[in-house]
Every structure is written in structure tokens, then in C-alpha cells.
């Protein structure tokens, strides 16, 4: 069966663009998450036509397909389930057009997030969503997960920055969703597609909004002797009528790890630090700096350091963005969680998260987007230790439940993928899941676009349980 599939893929794309050797199949059997699957073939299209051809071949053979960018996803969204054709977008990596006047760019899905901002820097523009993996992750993957990042607090997540997407639907037909006009007649299909984790089709060309670089930027580092004080400062800043460009929190463990790793000048003895960025026009920014300083001091901030120049600012951010490199020095494995709670519940939920870690005897660090309540508990461990995975998973489940009980949601920016698929009933009723399943079916009646992701089995009311051949889950 695979032989005929491979032959057709190779005929359509060229034999050097289709791989099925054991090493490739193994490498592309997972993303940066923990779930493992198995591909039947891995394709490396270089043009949109190649993508269409690959999807059409998969359709002809009635096989599923999975889109994959750099594989930095953490929820198993790119993990192949049901021996699908994996379509890797990393060779579709051209910035096709930069429209300075309309402040937009047309890009291929494999363009790396940071490369786009670099490509437009000389115009005083940037691409605002900035996930921590921005040096490695692709714009296409960002669209699949509706990715966030520190600066999404003020600038909005990926969905607010995507204007149009050329997509290949599961039947191999193509459609442009959205457009460069401010609105399109009829339903916002572009809005549905963003964040659909590859289950509605595959993007081949994307128009994104570019954002003007702010004339003034101030980056502040506040340090605290208690994590509660830091969290209270977060609420205090928002209550003061300030929505910073970014508002990040790091706890004691991660602050020390980062400082040992990059030497950004973070205080090694702090219980928590806040990294706050304010941007805009001169007077507003200066007034906000003073206000944040006052709010921090009233909540016991030990020091408030304002980056004196661009080099110091870059260093402070380097600390934050190196967090995941830093922890590799502590233990070989980590499990990074992603959940969101109402901002006012941060202190309470953080306490529960630490209690869960200590109950399961796990090392836990927290480095997260405090301003929008987006928690990222990070469990650091050695996977070779007997029984450790069970504890890691138990802690993860307990954390999710605590977040949902506080009125939160399952994911802020990583997506549902395989990892949280079966937790969806924690936040959605059967009728809610049925509506989502109907929407997915409208885009892909065949169910071959990244099957078994996002929605749990049985989401469609009256759906027959259908486990695809070769599923590992």
C-alpha cells in the first residue's frame, strides 16, 4: 500500500522531495511535545503546487496528511497519527512580498518568525507575535496554533495579525481565506482557520500585518522577595490602567538558572522577577515607567532596574528567552505546560501549582506571560528515573484541573493537539464540541487533514468511534 503511495508522491514532487527511510520516519514521528506517532512518508515541497500535488495524492490513496513546520510545537499537533503523509513546509521559506505602504507581507508558511521581522527591520516595521521559539518556529506553524508570545499582551495573538491565507483543503482544492480588504463578504473563514492546528487544510501563502516599531521602549526588571508580591504587582499595573507591551514573570528557580546560563544581571536571590516592557510615544511611556515603579515599590519590589540602552534591554530579554536553554543544564528532560487563568486568580493558582509539584516530588519552575494570565509551569526531570513519567503526567493533569476550576482554559498559545485533546470535555459541553466538529467537517468532510487532533473521539453527536489504522494513541 505504501509502495504505491510513495511512487505517486515521488512522481508528483520528484524523488528527492519524498523520504520514507526509517531514519526520516523516526525523526518526523514527533514534534517538540511528548507524543510519538509514525509517518508513512515525509514530503518536502518547494512550491504551492507541490503541496497541492501531495495533498491530492494523499486524497487519491485515502490517506491522512499532517502539516509540519519546524516541529517546535509542544502539544503533538504535528505528530503523525494513522500513518499519514507528513508535509514539511520548511522549504517554502520565501518572503514573497513586503508592502511597506499597506504594512503587510506575503510569506510562505516555512518562513521563520524572527526572519520575517529581520526582513522588514530596515523599514521600521516588525511582525508582532513573538513566541519564545521565534528563532526556530515557522509562520505557518504559528498560524496553526494561533501562537502568542510576550508582546501579545498589547499587540494581540497571531489571529490579529493574519490577513489572508491561501490554503489547500483536504480534497486538494485551493482557496484564499480572508484578504487584504478590511472585511470580506460572508463568514470569517480566515478566522476559523487560524488556530485550527492543521485540521482544516494547509497554508501555502500567508498575508500578515506588519507593525510599526514604537519610537520609545523602556524595559524594566523588578525583583521581589515573595512571589505573591510579584503577582500583586501584575494586578496592580493592570488596575492602574496600564497595558504594557509585555509583562513576564519568572520565579526563583528559573531566575537563578537563567542567570547562571546567560549572566543577564538578574538577582540570583530573588523570589520572583518581573520583566515589564512599555512602549509608545515619549510622554506616555515616561509616565507609565513612573507609575509601574510606584506600583512595584508599593508591593515590596526590592529594586526596579530600567534598561539604560538597547544593549541592556536586549540582555534582559535574552534572559527571558533563554529560559528553556538554561534548564537543559539542570536535567535532561522537561515538560512545559500552557494554561490560562483569569489574571486576578494568578496568585491563588500559582500556589496550587507549587503544591502539586511538591506533592508529586517534582522540580518545577515558572516562567510565564503574567500580564494575560498565561501560565507555563515547567517540570524539569530525568526521564530515565523509574516511575517519573507517571508523576509528571499526574502533575500536568492536576495543574490543568486547577486552572479550569479557577475559570481558565486549557491552552493559551501551544494548542490542543494530541496532548490536551482528551481534556477538552473539561471546558466544553457535548453541544460545544459537536459544533466544533461540524465546523471541522465543513472544511474537511473526509476527516483526513491531521486526524485525531484537537477534538476527542465522539465529539460529533452520534459519531461512531473510529480509530484509524496504525494509531498509537
Amino acid at each position: 500500500m505504501d509502495r504505491a503511495l510513495l511512487a505517486d508522491l515521488r512522481a508528483a514532487l520528484g524523488s528527492d522531495r519524498v523520504r520514507a527511510e526509517p531514519l526520516e520516519l523516526h525523526l518526523y514521528g514527533r514534534d517538540a511535545g511528548v507524543d510519538v506517532g509514525e509517518a508513512s512518508a515525509v514530503c518536502f515541497p518547494a512550491t504551492a503546487e507541490h503541496v497541492v500535488a501531495a495533498v491530492q495524492v494523499a486524497a487519491r490513496h485515502d490517506r491522512p496528511f499532517v502539516a509540519r513546520g519546524s516541529g517546535t510545537g509542544l502539544a503533538g499537533g504535528a505528530t503523525p497519527v494513522g500513518r499519514p503523509v507528513v508535509i514539511v513546509t520548511t522549504h517554502l521559506n520565501r518572503v514573497l512580498e513586503v508592502d511597506e505602504q499597506q504594512r503587510l507581507a506575503w510569506v510562505e508558511p516555512g518562513v521563520l518568525n524572527l526572519d520575517l521581522s529581520r526582513a522588514v527591520r530596515h523599514l521600521g516595521l516588525h511582525y508582532a507575535p513573538d513566541p519564545s521559539s521565534q528563532q526556530a518556529c515557522t509562520i505557518g506553524g504559528n498560524i496553526a496554533t494561533n501562537a502568542g508570545g510576550p508582546h501579545c499582551l498589547a499587540y494581540g495573538v497571531t489571529a490579529a495579525h493574519v490577513l489572508a491565507v491561501d490554503v489547500v483543503l483536504a480534497d486538494g482544492s485551493v482557496a484564499m481565506l480572508g484578504g487584504v480588504t478590511p472585511d470580506q463578504p460572508g463568514y470569517d473563514l480566515r478566522g476559523c482557520f487560524v488556530g485550527s492546528e492543521g485540521t482544516m487544510g494547509l497554508a501555502t501563502r500567508i498575508a500578515v500585518r506588519l507593525t510599526a516599531n514604537p519610537p520609545e521602549i523602556r524595559t524594566l526588571l523588578l525583583d521581589f522577595t515573595s512571589i505573591d508580591d510579584a503577582a500583586a504587582t501584575v494586578s496592580g499595573v493592570i488596575a492602574a490602567g496600564i497595558v504594557p507591551a509585555a509583562l513576564e514573570m519568572m520565579d526563583a528557580e528559573i531566575t537563578r538558572a537563567v542567570e547562571d546560563f546567560v549572566g543577564a544581571g538578574y538577582p540570583r536571590d530573588a523570589a520572583a522577577v518581573l520583566l515589564i516592557e512599555l512602549d509608545g510615544l515619549e510622554h506616555g511611556v515616561e509616565a507609565q515607567v513612573e507609575r509601574v515603579r510606584a506600583v512595584g515599590s508599593s508591593h515590596g519590589a526590592r529594586t526596579v532596574r530600567v534598561a539604560a540602552d538597547e544593549a541592556e534591554r536586549a540582555l534582559l530579554w535574552k534572559g527571558r528567552k533563554s529560559a528553556f536553554g538554561a534548564i537543559a543544564r539542570i536535567a535532561p528532560d522537561y515538560y512545559l505546560h500552557d494554561a490560562v487563568v483569569p489574571r486576578t486568580r494568578l496568585v491563588d493558582v500559582l500556589r496550587q501549582v507549587y503544591a502539586i509539584a511538591s506533592e508529586q516530588r517534582l522540580t518545577m519552575m515558572n516562567v510565564f506571560h503574567a500580564g494575560d494570565g498565561n501560565l507555563h509551569p515547567l517540570i524539569v526531570f530525568d526521564g530515565r528515573e523509574p516511575g517519573i513519567w507517571a508523576r509528571v503526567h499526574a502533575a500536568g493533569d492536576a495543574i490543568l484541573q486547577a486552572c479550569v476550576a479557577a475559570g481558565g482554559v486549557l491552552s493559551g498559545e501551544h494548542g490542543i493537539g494530541l496532548e490536551k485533546r482528551d481534556a477538552m470535555p473539561l471546558v466544553f459541553e457535548p453541544a460545544d464540541l459537536d459544533a466544533q466538529a461540524r465546523l471541522r467537517d465543513a472544511f474537511d468532510p473526509s476527516g483526513r487533514a491531521n486526524p485525531d487532533k484537537v477534538l476527542p473521539q465522539g465529539s460529533r453527536c452520534g459519531e461512531l468511534a473510529r480509530i484509524p489504522e496504525g494509531a498509537w494513541v
Partner: protein, 353 residues
Amino acid sequence: MSPLERDPREADLLDAERAVAAQVGAADAVAPVGTGTHREVGGPPPAGVEVRAPVGVVMYDPAELTVTVGAGTTVEELSGILSEANQECVLDPRDATATIGGTLACGLSGLRRLRYGPLRDRVLEVRFATAAGELVRGGGPTVKNVTGYDMPRLLVGSFGTLGVLTRVVLRCQPRPMHAQWGHTSDDPATVLARSFRASAVLWDGARTSVLSEGHPDDVVSQIATLGLEAQEGPPPVPVGAHRGRASVAPADVIAVGRSLDAIVGARWIAEAGVGTLHVACDEESTLADARQAVTQHGGWLLREEGAPGLDGFGVELPNAALMARVKTAFDPTNKLAAGRLPLAPREDARIAS
């Protein structure tokens, strides 16, 4: 049970929503109505049982910068409540007595879109009554969320054809410290290039009006940088018996404006940098001419008032087959706001009915 569910106002709202869902489920044809301010937008007002969404602000914690409201609440009422905490939700329909549900269903983004983005970026969670009479929730109450598909964006601008909105969670923001309108004879492209985060840049072919919001000193300096003459409030948005909203690529605004200038009797104002143009006139044929001018530039024009002969957008719906599948998935018998969107019925829809 989340803490939200224990709020007594929440329980009352939920009861009201269930009643709406039952009403929708039982009817053969449903006409969602709010305060009737935008009944003529798009297609003809649908026939059927009039269904009204529940009213009231249910949950508002200024520290969260979010608010939960019944979709039948008016924009005016919500603004009043948010302003007590010096916050706002950027919903700027032409008529503030419009309901929030109606504003969202019609996709009315308002004049400050240049800075604050489209309406759809403001909606965090929706609950709506389905054709089958169920209540469905999509999105989530937090400011950041990728838990499942983005149902809120699907519902915004859907004209009530997929479900009747019963409640929404909206993102709020601190009110700007200061706001000032000013105008200049410079063309809008020049103004856009020289301004930073202007809230609105409106152009009527002769005059460019700018709204600057923020710290008072920054507002003063922006007004000076752009050489603006201060003015009280926004420029008039044209009125007339026949009105429409056009959408074109932002780069085409000047060319489209010039084309509209050539049409006798067409009054218009454009949102520069956005691509929306508001057109009004006294004769239906004038609006038809305006629509033709807009479509020649690759845009479309939605009838908002009057002009009974100008239903729809003046262009074919893009991806009509896919949209029809979405419609069929939610409303297989086409009973919700029938005719508000020019969707062709599908074979399988007829079978399902």
C-alpha cells in the same frame, strides 16, 4: 462548576438564554432582532419569529479587563458601566442604542479600527442558540486562549445566520487619558506615514481628520507634528436615505475616493489605513453607481440602509461552496435569518430538511 456559574446574575442569564434557545429551536423561521438600528444591513430583514437576546451586564471585574454581557445589552449601556471604572470596550457602532449582539452579527467595526483593530479581535467568548435549539459556547473567558476552534470569529459578521448570540465575553481596555481630533489638507497617505498609532485617519477627499489618543503631552505633540488644526469631535459621517459601507484594499482608498467624487450626489468618508468607506446619498441609483466604482477597484459595498434593490455585497461570496457547507453544518434547514447572506442552498441541506 466554575465560580462564574455560581453568580446569581449568571444563573438568571443562563435561564434567559435557555428560553431563547427553546424559542429558536421551536420556530421554523427565526429573525434575530435587537433594537432595530441595523435591520436593513445586507440582505432584506428576514421573516420569521422575532427572537431577542437577554439583556444585562453579568460579570465585570475591571482588574480582568473583560466583561460578560447578555447579547441584547446596548452598546450605550455597556459603555456607561465600563466608564465608571475608566475603561471602554471599543464598540463604536454609528448608533450606540444598537445591541452588542447586533453590532457583532453585522460586523460593525467602528471608526477607531486603525488603532484598535477590527471588532472580531475584541470578542473572547460567545454563547449562541443553534437552529436545533441548543446553547453552544465557543472561545473562552480569558484574554488569551487557543482551546478549540475560534467560534467567536466565525459568529462575528455572520448576520445571525449560524446562531443567535445570547452572551459574549468582551475584551476591555483603559480609556485613553486624552483624545483630540484635528484636521489638515494633507493627503491621508502622508498623514499615515508621519503619525504613530493614530486612532483614526478619516478622509473625505478634501480634508484629512485625525484622532489622537493617549498621554496629553503626546497628543499635543502628534497634533503639532502632523500640523493639525484642532477640531471638536469627529467629522460628520455622511447620512442619507441610502447608505452603504465599502471595503477596499487600504492602498486603493485614494483612487476609490476620487472615483466616488466623480459620482454626483455621493457623499462619503474613508477610513484611511483601514480601507473602509462610508457612502450615503439620496437616490438609490447613486449608491448603485458607488457600488460599481468600488467593485471596479476589487472591493465590495454592503448596503446598510435604504436601497432595497442593492441586497448583499455587490460581489459573489468568496469560497461560496465552503461557506454553504459551514451554513449547512449549523443551520441545515436555512431557518436562521434566511436571506441575510446570499448563500446558495445545497443539495444535502435539502435532504437534511
